[in-house]
């Protein structure tokens, strides 16, 4: 074995180690293409998508201007039109939060996450996990308050199960 053999062997070892390091360092990383919104939309037609996006923008503006009733009306229309779209449920949750009803908000957030799990994936631009965590905390506090007043309230207990479900999903999400 001469010097060239030894260098070749070392080069092979370095190549293998660096390949492993590179692969393990980037496992699970989002590819740049994932910057594009990964949305579950029932309508494939670009016109429908654009209509949806314009309406979502309008709802957000209405909400920021505290026009919650109008926001809710528009969201309900969107849910009817696009029943498998996650974003209207997310916004409906936001409306309930602004109405100080975190329990109803979490029920809507759970629907949204069910339609689009990217809301709990920090590697996507849709990530909303931290907002949802705040809502879950407030909703649980609200349920506890209700159950202290009426410990046999089955409706509250059922809602608590849904909230716990979302809490588990948040805890196990990529955040």
């Amino acid at each position: 074995m001469d010097w060239l053999d030894r260098i070749s062997i070392w080069a092979i070892v370095i190549l293998i180690i660096s390949s492993f390091a590179l692969i393990s360092g980037h496992v699970g990383e989002a590819r740049p293409e994932r910057h594009l919104q990964q949305r579950v939309i029932t309508a494939d037609h670009p016109a429908a998508q654009s209509e949806m996006e314009n309406n979502l923008k309008l709802v957000k503006n209405l909400m920021e201007a505290n026009n919650l009733d109008q926001s809710e009306t528009l969201i309900k229309e969107l849910i009817q039109k696009f029943p498998y779209e996650a974003a209207p449920h997310m916004l409906m949750g936001d409306v309930h939060m602004r109405r100080q009803d975190p329990v109803r908000a979490v029920l809507e957030y759970k629907e949204a996450v069910g339609f689009n799990p990217d809301y709990l994936d920090k590697k996507t631009p849709l990530f909303q996990g931290k907002k949802l965590k705040v809502a879950v905390g407030e909703a649980l506090a609200e349920i506890d308050k209700g159950l202290r007043r009426n410990p046999s309230d089955e409706s509250l207990k059922n809602k608590r199960k849904v909230i716990y479900f979302l809490q588990r999903k948040i805890a196990g999400s990529c955040s």
Binding site: D5, A11, L15, S18, G25, P32, K60, L68, G129
Partner: protein, 297 residues
């Protein structure tokens, strides 16, 4: 010959192994600064700090001066926020923003207080005596220029909507100063101002403390703060926080050919660690005064 060929092929393989990250463009992070007095003043104050953060973190930062009333509309496009405590609790609840550091400035350090002031010669001794009087408030989303004073009034049984002769909020920039001058020049019986701004105007000899009576003082609450939006990587946010916590009084940065002291230009004494629960006092105040994010319609 064959061995040399193998060696060259392997060498080429190693040399061409670039990490994918190095091919990606360096990301630009956006910091939204709440406009305190004016857009120009805010940009002037925080330009060196933004450059310093960029230098220390090896990242590119873009700064934006945003009006208090527009902040929640724009927060989704930001990576970091610099706001007052009321805006923070709003964004924390509605947009999942998380606290990083609190800013230290003035006699209360990382805390701030809202005060109600009046001219001594008006003879107003307590909050109840403001009934039927006129008042001037600072910006509505200012925790120590509106909310704290509203809390004080409501606690004393005074509803500004019905129990004051009238109240106003000055238009445009430098609202806190306008409030204090509004009281000094006798346009209003009393005014709502942050203690820090009052102290600053006294120390700059722009007003004489002895002309005024502090009718009431609100509870101390966290002062301005840096927070991070939910889309930013937690590791990077932690490094951002560490840089802020470690800034020293004499740290400088070069801006437009000038070497500038970062904290001095920002009008800040430093940054300290703060927890989300430290803002519960602001949350309770917002609930009592029916302010966002707990406003009931």
């Amino acid at each position: 010959m064959r061995r040399s060929l193998i060696f060259l092929v392997l060498l080429f393989g190693i040399v061409s192994c670039n990490a994918p990250a190095s091919k990606e463009e360096k990301r630009t992070y956006k910091i939204g600064y709440m406009i305190c007095n004016s857009e120009q003043e805010t940009l002037h104050r925080f330009k060196p700090l933004t450059a310093y953060l960029g230098k220390k973190l090896g990242a590119h930062f873009e700064m934006m001066a945003i009006d208090t009333t527009d902040f929640t509309k724009q927060v989704d496009s930001l990576d970091f926020t610099h706001t007052n405590s009321l805006l923070y609790i709003m964004m924390s609840r509605n947009q999942g923003v998380e606290i990083l550091t609190a800013e230290k400035s003035g006699s209360l350090g990382a805390r701030a207080k809202g005060i109600i002031i009046s001219l001594k010669k008006r003879g107003i001794g307590n909050v109840r005596e403001l009934k039927g009087k006129s008042m001037v408030f600072g910006p509505m989303l200012g925790p120590t220029s509106y909310m704290a004073q509203l809390d004080l009034l409501l606690k004393s049984g005074i509803d500004p909507e019905s129990d004051l002769s009238f109240y106003a909020i000055p238009p445009g920039s430098y609202k806190h100063e306008k409030v204090i001058y509004g009281v000094l020049f006798g346009k209003f019986d009393a005014g709502a101002a942050p203690l820090l701004d009052f102290e600053r105007m006294v120390s700059e000899d722009r007003i004489d403390k002895n002309d005024f009576t502090v009718v009431a003082e609100g509870d101390p609450i966290p002062y301005c703060n840096f927070a991070v939006t939910q889309k930013v990587d937690d590791g990077f946010a932690k490094r951002f926080k560490e840089v802020l916590l470690n800034i020293k009084k004499d740290d400088t940065v070069e801006i437009d050919g000038q070497v500038v002291k970062v904290l001095e230009r920002a009008n800040v004494d430093g940054y300290e660690d703060i927890r989300n629960s430290d803002f519960d006092v602001v949350r309770d105040m917002a609930k009592r005064t029916n302010m966002p994010p707990y406003q009931r319609y």
